[in-house]
Assembly symmetry: C2
Homo-oligomer: 363 residues x 2
Amino acid sequence: MMRTEKPTAILNPATVRRNIRRMADKASRSGVRLRPHFKTHQSAAVGEWFREAGVTGITVSSVGMAQYFADHGWDDITIAFPVSWWQIDTLNGLAGRVRLGLLVESPETIQFLQLRLTAPVNVWIKVDTGYNRTGVRYDDAPLIDQLAAALRLADKLTLAGLLTHTGQTYSIMGSRSIRSIYDKTVAALNQVQQQLQQRGFADVALSIGDTPTCSMLESFPGVNEIRPGNFVFYDMQQVSLGSCRVEDVAVAVACPVVAKHPWKNTLTIYGGSAHFSSDYDDGWIFGAVALPTDLGWSAPLPATRLLKLSQEHGIVQTTPDRLARTNVGDTLMILPIHACLTMNSLKGYTTLEGERLAMLRDF
Amino acid sequence: MMRTEKPTAILNPATVRRNIRRMADKASRSGVRLRPHFKTHQSAAVGEWFREAGVTGITVSSVGMAQYFADHGWDDITIAFPVSWWQIDTLNGLAGRVRLGLLVESPETIQFLQLRLTAPVNVWIKVDTGYNRTGVRYDDAPLIDQLAAALRLADKLTLAGLLTHTGQTYSIMGSRSIRSIYDKTVAALNQVQQQLQQRGFADVALSIGDTPTCSMLESFPGVNEIRPGNFVFYDMQQVSLGSCRVEDVAVAVACPVVAKHPWKNTLTIYGGSAHFSSDYDDGWIFGAVALPTDLGWSAPLPATRLLKLSQEHGIVQTTPDRLARTNVGDTLMILPIHACLTMNSLKGYTTLEGERLAMLRDF
């Protein structure tokens, strides 16, 4: 019987490697560069498995993550988050030692970087192609012209291309809808690309990235680079969306059962919003529940859900039969709704073979 | 102008001390022991301010937190979370050096502790008085009898009393409703207390604890101990509930503005669900937004909300006027919805005076 002291991320290396290999092969077949987003795993050890699959350039979401992976031998890093100005000293340190890609979406940031950078960088214009989170609207021609004008005056900045995140793929279902978003995204990026070409920028690459798109489509016509992240582990949200099968989920959180409540068919586990964040989804609630097995974990238990979280507690609702066969001290394996946030909270992994993998601890 | 590199918890020590003093005075006037929950701050430095107010016993929510505070000189610690069996070695280490209180709610856990403990502990029976999360139902007389029988055979365990968390106070409004829940809670605990007295347990203390109750009521008749935690910092949820005024909120998160979108009156800040968790509430959404001032931060800006979070991004919706007066590189102060989870993510504080306070980093 598996014994767990506290919530512990358990990683299946074979599944991780298969997920990486599948995406690398697809990128290769489609003639696009795979620049995976490393925010999902934040682990140098997992990074090595990407290297084995031929990956040489990566995406991160913070300057701290860029430093960490630079320290672990990665020398081509895009920080896919708008530049936070007062990190300029750290950015200069990075720009001096790696091929650094930064995101810009305002003339002010371009001017600031030109003034304060001590080494050249590549920049990507963050384009909002419909997700409506951040970035320049693809049809905001005056602002795009302002960016082009600012970039022409900024010799420390080389325009690498246009970057977008189509997060709207997280709220639709099915590969046909995904293809429709993809086509609109590429058309929107092409419109900006043409405008920039007219302003003298001949070589403007296109970078897209989100796990539903990159998982459900078989090819990526018209773009140069894909930046999916979550696919390395997948999670129950991706299963719901159709990005993967449940067997592709490569991490589960081992949680000890600490109480049983037969009168309401619930179990209390040690594992709450401090571990899983508070993300949930309508179908699986805060996570699916599986049993530990010799090979990792079982399929999700039927009629069993991680129903409610407080800071340290999780409430699992299950069947009378399952409840009767579960004891305090047992371990349940929670397949998280959102692997990125869950792993960000747990700050490390134990592999199925019992090896401890460190990850970034950047505070 | 305040310059922030990344999301940083800013703490106002004067407000923290005032919040502590007010609660300590109220407990003293009401003749109850204040055993504050330290999960909110998880900081040895903040703990010292409690010591100045005469606090000698504390509550924590994990064994790691208990070890941390034991290492910082606290010798009377209740772990207000059901015992996770396979932490027994660490619990034995703690039981040998502090007055340790544990929570039990099953005969199995009592028997397990009796078998495996190497030093005596106090135990509290976790009673569910209506919150319906975990604990023994107050009216489950057969189970309470089983617990009494198991405790009689367990000489390493001393029954200290009954402990409950009335988390349902987080979903109601107004001190009259709080008083009604309080009265029902005490009546429920008294029922269990009497049953245990009939089984030979003469000295059964009652411990309650949640910030809305402890903030909104002026006295605590019938109980021996209160365990509020959040009141040390408060947050926008507590403001909404009526537990405190907005001036009592003692922490804010300084976040840099990284992008402006005048066409939709939004700003992008560096600060997302990796920092604020994903808790939200209907009124303030993910947090209120204030400006940095010489003395800390302003009142929340009108018609301005932290509207949407992704892992690192926060989207602030505001007025055209405020947008025009805000620049990329500026700092906004976010008053979080839920201080406990936010501080748990940020793992440290900077005081208004610029001092860095460490907190537990337990992975």
